[in-house]
Symmetry: D2
């Protein structure tokens, strides 16, 4: 399905870094959901580069909703959101068109598209295409919050610095909501930003780990086997450029545990079934168990760096050197976290609408 | 799509642990692919429990191909493979039906299926349902090998013991093919098995990490965004019970790298573009770059243990204790690796058939 | 998606005329639906050839439910139903393997499958593969009836003889339910059967038109554009071999009407919105309006006839003659009607489950 | 999948009659296809209302391609085409908002969308949304023509007047290409137009039948069962507003034929297999046989008429009268034919790309 994801609630993504507009179609959202245009703007703002730890490309992200919203509410038909590209400098890229930037899609895209791809600024592969995902995700996040479902992501680790863990997830999610640099510990946030600047000063870049929690999802959502909650979430999370690993609950730390340590004991609490620990990240057998859904994603260091690198000229088939020009981010992890929240919300809307029907989100 | 995965080549899985048969339908495989029934048997044998490090349930796995194969070759129509359940002891489970086994799907399944689920032996959630995946995967693995595409998985880590890394991937894959306990280092294999037995003696279980490589996949396969190779592979990998994390290339180790260390430099080798390192696991921008596809999965410790655990009686809504009876595995990682190979092969067949057409696999 | 149809409730079909078994997987039906095995048998019996107006091939259709049903109810996981092929006479077909039977799929299948298709008895193209659709449809029909939704089909026209129209649809559906030869007028039924026998005596065959009504479907089901009720129903109806036309409401008779005659006026009746006429067959803008869904399908004359026909030997690329041997039907329309009911029920279950959620059918 | 159709080549449609823009995303077209913007304009022009036999709403249809096209060729990523709505008169509709226009989707849409639908000018249900389908179809038609595949549609019947039949299909398709009123016989065209004007003068409307042929499609395309060529084409054809019947080859005329008359004899012609007649419309067993694909669609009379009609006020639940104001078409059949060509081309691109791979259309 290439550029379309989802079954009951589906997103179709389009656009290139230097085209006139980029955008998304969200299809299948219930009719009657409030569309809060200010919230969309503020979410887009969280994704937007800012300050010295981000690229100098500055986009206003003045999105337009072209369809599917009427008198401030979703109509139930497909919503198309467009975001114009304004601050494009195409000349930056043309001279290095045949040089495969290491860590980027230039070479693999050329193998796939045979040279017809729009190569300017990463074209369809540009991280900029995540902006429409964020706009769509904002509608989904709003709708979910009306149903008592909240999502939050913090930078768990960046450039060797680790944040503190979630303590009270509901409060932590609330706190993270509008933070520009979403780290639970202020002190750790400062250390991370300083490490990012160090890398930037070296013409280099850093990566990190994002940890996400979603609360309020009812037990019984998801499928055994192919459409497990893990399958569906990882599918859309791995769609975000730069994400190279996804783990649920303890994730790779399960490798060193024994079953007796890893299993989450069930217990009754106020007439409700909960688990004592949440090592499985709220998912058993691919299906939610009512506990917070917890997962983390690793974001690789931004591949664009200012150091000279070995590469090939893939058009002429010979070795070459590349010194990348243009405007780039020494870190994208702080911008990526709102993308993670957004795609999580979209995937949850899809799973919930499949389970409870197409009107559920608005009821 | 629940129990169906794939677009050009799609699998539909069915069955319960204690039903008469379990099975799979594989649809969309090219006509004219050789079906090697002995190879299917030998792959099923690799998945089958054996020795003291596995459950005492012993199944013959005498599969039958019901459709889609004629005179030893695929016809191009849907292939149904059935595997009878013979060694079922349903009485083992009935008395604990209302007790949620920690780490299992009993409670979440009950929330989803409202008590109508077949609870015997884990029902549709049983690891036993991976047997049809292995049978189907065997046909896919055979077909891919004719096209020069090979897949292999080793136990990278188990119970605190780490295997050596891949050195010569092509040779390593060959070596791993028929190993009962797929570890590259014999010495490490012995240590792992001993650690599994230790856990078994304690009535406990262990997990681990599987690392997989696929070679020979042409550059240019996969999609940007929603159907990235990472998205598609992780989707099906997370369908395997017990897998809680998937990472490509360096995976979570990217978190501590800088871009200059993480980027894979391109270079020419014998007129072909390769990368010097393969930190991205053969995938750039969601699309293969011609290097080996490398990923790893964490397998959580088998949730069934012989120790008494706290839990709830979810039918009567009260706290309870559970001491699981029945036959179980102290580790499943050595059995899971053939499942990982199988689903990888099925997903690759799908992506390749989408790209090159429905006849490609047989040409 | 080839052999899979549906989104929330999906069917996957497999099997060949002379394989060991044919079957279907139905995925996504709500947990807790009663599975009435006698009703499945009686529906299969309606499809089964009988008497002198049908093929001499007699199959017991002793189906087995392999998965997804537990203690007489659906579990919510995938249901696999198998039907053995017992009365196969493969030798009938081998000598004419290279001769394209006019009106059949032999030649087009050979172009698609390059000679690897199972050619015996029509292989995967055999009308026999509709038996699993009927078995699956029986479960769907039962489930719908619990929700007040009923489906019925009569032979509107056969061999130049027309049946009377629906008068009281609810009563007519009830009456048609168990009829072997589903014609509303007994007199017309006799004329049709006599015309079929005439054709049979000439070594020839006849076609006809089936008209179907579904009552009780709530208003507001379906989608504008691509998943209109007409789109979804026609998609599955055209999957039935021999169906070459589908029309809703007045269908092709709309061509000669003016808008003022064709439009269905709305009116209130007992506080409910109805239409005075039902020219649109219960569907406006692709969405149900609460009136009976009414459509008709044309079934072409069975292509297998006993007369000698001109054809080609497509393996050797030369003109040839064919005189078909074997057992065949002079008409299939009376057998096809239960297939039409079945696929209609399956498609409705899918559309209703998408709209109201996966539990709705059982509530 | 609601507003998305297709697997390898997929279209996502969005927009409302009185929104700022309507549009489509076409995903999966091969990279390197020439995009002829003039041809897109001329196809849009064929759909556009003109003269006295069409609505007075006049739209410039100045489309913009927002993504997926670079330097005049498809890039291989998703193509978004936008068409602004300029000539909207929203005040025409607001006063009759609660009155269900007979034959329209107002009432059924209200049942589905609970009043949140954009009701102005038919909203998402407006025939205007076919404009983006035509723009997308134009790219598909161009691409197919480079592969020797041509599609043409004529008005076979309108207001009781019948056109002559196809004689030389290749020449007829060529001739029909740019005709404003696509009738093979000039004389019949004049009679039809006169009959449409008669209806218009009466404040009424007419319907008709469109007949389509596609030549050059290789034998062996399509699937048995659920994705038969008939299933896929009818699915998208029934998505066009006003189409209430689809038939292939002889269609409903099969009902009165015997097998010996209906079967298409095969014969060799210049070393190629052809059929003597083409009663099956180029499709056997759901799969193309290399003969022209021939089908026809009935278009119901435009539901909007100027006569006063009985209806209901569905908000207040009472009987009412409606006299529709605004600008409307006494016939849409001459405009619909380019929509039929367009969706046929899109569906063929999808089926061909599935079969031969994603690059085939551009090779």
């Amino acid at each position: 399905m290439k550029n379309t994801f989802g079954q009951s609630v589906a997103c179709t993504l389009f656009g290139e870094s230097h085209g006139s507009e980029i955008g998304i179609v969200i299809d299948g959202l219930a009719p009657g959901i409030d569309v809060d245009e200010d919230f969309i703007s503020s979410q887009l703002s969280l994704r937007r580069p800012k300050g010295r730890i981000s690229t100098a490309r500055r986009e206003a992200d003045e999105y337009r909703i072209v369809s599917g919203v009427f008198e401030g509410k979703t109509t139930g038909s497909a919503i198309c959101i467009l975001i114009p590209n304004s601050d494009t400098k195409s000349k930056d890229y043309s001279s290095t068109r045949m040089l495969a930037r290491p860590g980027h899609a230039d070479y693999s895209a050329n193998c796939k598209y045979h040279g017809f791809e729009d190569y300017r600024g990463g074209g369809h592969f540009s991280g900029r295409i995540t902006a429409p995902l964020v706009a769509a995700g904002a509608i989904a996040i709003s709708a979910l919050s009306k149903k008592g479902i909240y999502i939050g992501t913090h930078i768990k680790e960046c450039a060797g610095v680790s944040d503190v863990s979630f303590t009270n997830i509901a409060q932590d999610i609330k706190k993270l909501g509008s933070m520009e640099f979403a780290v639970l510990s202020e002190e750790k946030a400062a250390l991370m930003q300083s490490a990012i600047l160090d890398a930037a000063n070296d013409g280099d870049s850093v990566g990190g780990v994002l940890e996400t929690a979603a609360i309020g999802v009812p037990a019984g959502v998801g499928e055994p086997w192919f459409d497990s909650v893990e399958s569906v979430l990882s599918h859309i999370l791995f769609s975000i450029p730069g994400i190279k690993g996804v783990q649920f609950g303890l994730g790779f730390d399960f490798a060193t545990k024994r079953g007796s340590d890893a299993n989450d004991s069930f217990q009754m609490e106020n007439g409700k079934v909960i688990t004592k620990t949440n090592n499985n990240g709220g998912i058993n057998g691919g299906i939610t168990n009512g506990m917070p859904i917890v997962f983390s994603c690793v974001v690789k260091p931004t591949p664009t760096i200012y150091k000279t690198q070995q590469t090939v000229d893939f058009i002429n088939g010979k070795d070459a050197e590349i010194t990348v020009q243009g405007r780039h981010d020494p870190a994208i992890i702080h911008r990526a976290r709102v993308v993670v929240d957004s795609v999580t919300a979209l995937a949850l809307c899809d799973m919930l609408s499949q389970r409870y029907g197409t009107d559920w989100l608005a009821n």
